[in-house]
Amino acid sequence: MRIHYYLMKKFYQLIFTIILIGIIVLFSASIHTSKNDLLHGFVEQTKMFGHSLIHLKEMIILVGAFQKETPLWSYMKEPYLYSFIILSSAFICAFALGILFSYGTYLLSPKMRKFVKECLFLLQSIPDVMFIFAVQLFIIWIYKKTNILIVDPIAGIEKVYLLPILVVSILPGIMLFQMTFLAIEEESKKTYVEFAKAKGLSNGWILLKHILRNVVVTLFSHSHYLFWLLVSNLLVVEYLFNIHGFFQLLYTALKTPDAFYVCLVALFLPFFLIEMIFNGIAIKLTGKEQTQ
């Protein structure tokens, strides 16, 4: 019964959100075409929108430097899958990196712990764009010195996976590490940890068996920040590495509002699903609704 209610609530939220995204896109389209007569422009755009949404199969998008008209529906599938493979593997990568590193750091001595934290603090204030610059320069530097091209930094038509996944997951990984580590430190002040220590269990064992389990719940409930960061990172990475993924498509679709709307909804749906599942897990584990 409770799950049924939860699902219904989420379903209504989903419908509302999709409509609202539509309104935002419509508003931007109408403010572009007629700045002074906003209401009239809005009505006009809504009519056009409705028309093109009914004929979803025939929607077109302008691709490339020559503005070639291509049907959206068949064009969208490939980059969509590609980008989501990158996103999900970057998510797993960031998660693994964050937890592994915080596990390692927790086992270090307090002085080393502080040092690692300071380093990450410095790293954190470097924007992702500069990370991408650095990676590109580094690869070219290696190529110049040794004549070995590890990975092609500027992708052409073929798909590259390793480099974008790594670059996308660096900054979220650092953020996740900080979050995890903070949560671990909070958790390790609790009495059950002290009790376990008094029983003579080792630090690593306590962390693995007791603390991490409790920390993961906190991480799950914060995961939507992580996704948001991943998405905005991938947007820039795809643009700078010249990867023909979904976000590149989104960027080219900016000129055609109806296609842009369809792309946005397609982007939104899986995220909503994931957030719903994670939220559900967090509620199930803690027994209370997390306030976002």
Binding site: Q13, S28, L240
Partner: protein
Amino acid sequence: MKKSWKRIPFLISILFLVGLIAFSFLYTYGLKEHIKAPPTFLYDENGNIAKSLPFPPSLDYPFGVDRQGKNTFWSVIDGARYTILIGLSVSFLRVVLGIGFGIFYGMYLKKMRSFLTTFERAFRFIPAILLVMLFFEVNLFSDATKGFSYIASIIFWLTVVALPSLIHVVGNEVSHFSKEDFITASRAMGATKIRVIQKHVIPFLRSRALLMIVQQMISTLLLLVHLGVFGVFVGGSRLFCYDPVNCRKVPITNEWSALIGAKYQELMLDQWIVFGPSIAFILTLLACHVMKRMLEGTEEKVVIPNAKQTPSIDIKQLKRSDFIFVEAVNSKNVIR
């Protein structure tokens, strides 16, 4: 304990930002005429041409000279005031409006919570940079693509983009805060909602406002870098045509993100041209992060235990004869 805004790292970083802005104004309105433009060629000691533009970084030109013969260091200084002031004004506006609407949302609109949450989610799921790119071309105040009105309209859009989520956060905080016991008490004694807002909510939020401004500043600066990469030049732009067909947008101010975005092609040729503005950006962000950390007060001290423990080797060397055992019978006698 000292108040966070009196600590030295905080003061240093705020001095850095203010100094950068002041220096930037000083350069544009005073120093500019007195500084010589770099020469077109560098000569070696025999008078032969050693190098033509662009020049790599040297003692005379700390960030190098770019292809147009502009000293990158002075370009960065010139652009500082645009970037930092845009960032500051956007974050200030965001926080002021966010707190204003947030109080209203938290105190009065309790019934509409679920609807507004959905609204906030719609905004959250579209990446902020895409939202800005949807709107930035529309100049609200006039039709120019440069000058003050253009910057003002960009500031407006940058502010609006983040407002829903900020209002949501502040509103939730306010509605949590208004369930505290002392507020219930003062409501019971007959205080109106406005009175509660004046006496309790605003002082509570005022202490958080500075932290929020710094946080928003960081996110605005990151957004600016991304916008620069995508060719949205915040300081204004104009079309530059090589020939009647090939036109592209070039920035008209030395705003940092525009410097990075416009010079991105140079990365593979002469890296240092991008380095200058990047370093400036990283330093500014670092200053903001330091301020944020000071304000959060999370700079917790790692306690290193001073007490000397007996090393375990010493423990193993102890023998039974090292201890004096009290007779159990004796102690029983004492108790009796």
